[in-house]
Subunit: 143 residues, 2 copies
């Protein structure tokens, strides 16, 4: 039985479920920072997933990346499965700008920023949700 | 025409080519740290690759992850496409142990360790190469 890790529950806002993953928003206004968590119990590494789930994770990750590129116009996306502190498999997707406070370093281990206002979360949920739905109807590269 | 980024050339040892990617070894004995670089010119994000190349990148990434788990018995794998300093798409695969100097933090931005001896590189090339070949004959999860 899948249960979202307690630390992810505390740090993130739940934006809803995709075919495989829960889509979370890190509650930190500094960066557009989304996390995909495959709803499969006991998985800590991507290669632990059966092939079909690996393909679907890639599909959802690339659709999310495209949606983030569209909405936030980042200089670079940072995509990572780390899990040293939270072993439950989860994949970070962060829109980075050369003007952001951690650039060109990584964001993990840095200071936490202010949480979102409710209206901001709703805006992000709707905008990213619409783009995601569009890109998930096509292939991962839209082709 | 694909050309490996100069900084990757300087920091890494080239272990050879897979179907899509060059396989590099970060020349730092602190961590077993491999990098996959899809040999496609001008690509900076995973979702920029055509679908077929995305699937192949995942296939090579998961085979490498399994080979690393087998050879190095890590506590966690860290897999990431960051690219804030080197935008050419490259995917880090790092075998982490709770006893390593950066744990539980990430390794990027930390101090560089000592380079490998030639005999060590040969050992790694052979061991990882054999496992990779084996896992690439099967699907990404071996199923």
């Amino acid at each position: 039985m899948f249960e979202l890790d307690r630390r992810l529950q505390e740090d993130c806002l739940d934006l809803g479920g995709l075919e495989l993953c829960r889509l979370l928003l890190m509650n930190d206004r500094t960066y557009p920072w989304f996390i995909l968590v495959p709803e499969r119990p006991g998985i800590t590494e991507i290669y632990h997933l059966p092939d079909r789930d690996q393909w679907q994770l890639l599909r959802e990750s690339s659709a999310l990346a495209r949606a983030m590129a569209m909405e936030f116009n980042p200089d670079k996306l940072n995509i990572a499965a780390i899990g040293n502190l939270v072993p439950q498999l989860h994949m970070h997707h962060i829109a980075r700008r050369s003007s952001d406070p951690a650039w060109p370093g990584v964001v993990w281990g840095g200071p936490r920023g202010a949480p979102y206002e409710c209206t901001e979360v709703e805006w992000i949920r709707v905008r990213i949700g619409d783009q995601l739905e569009r890109f998930l109807r096509t292939g991962p590269s839209g082709g």
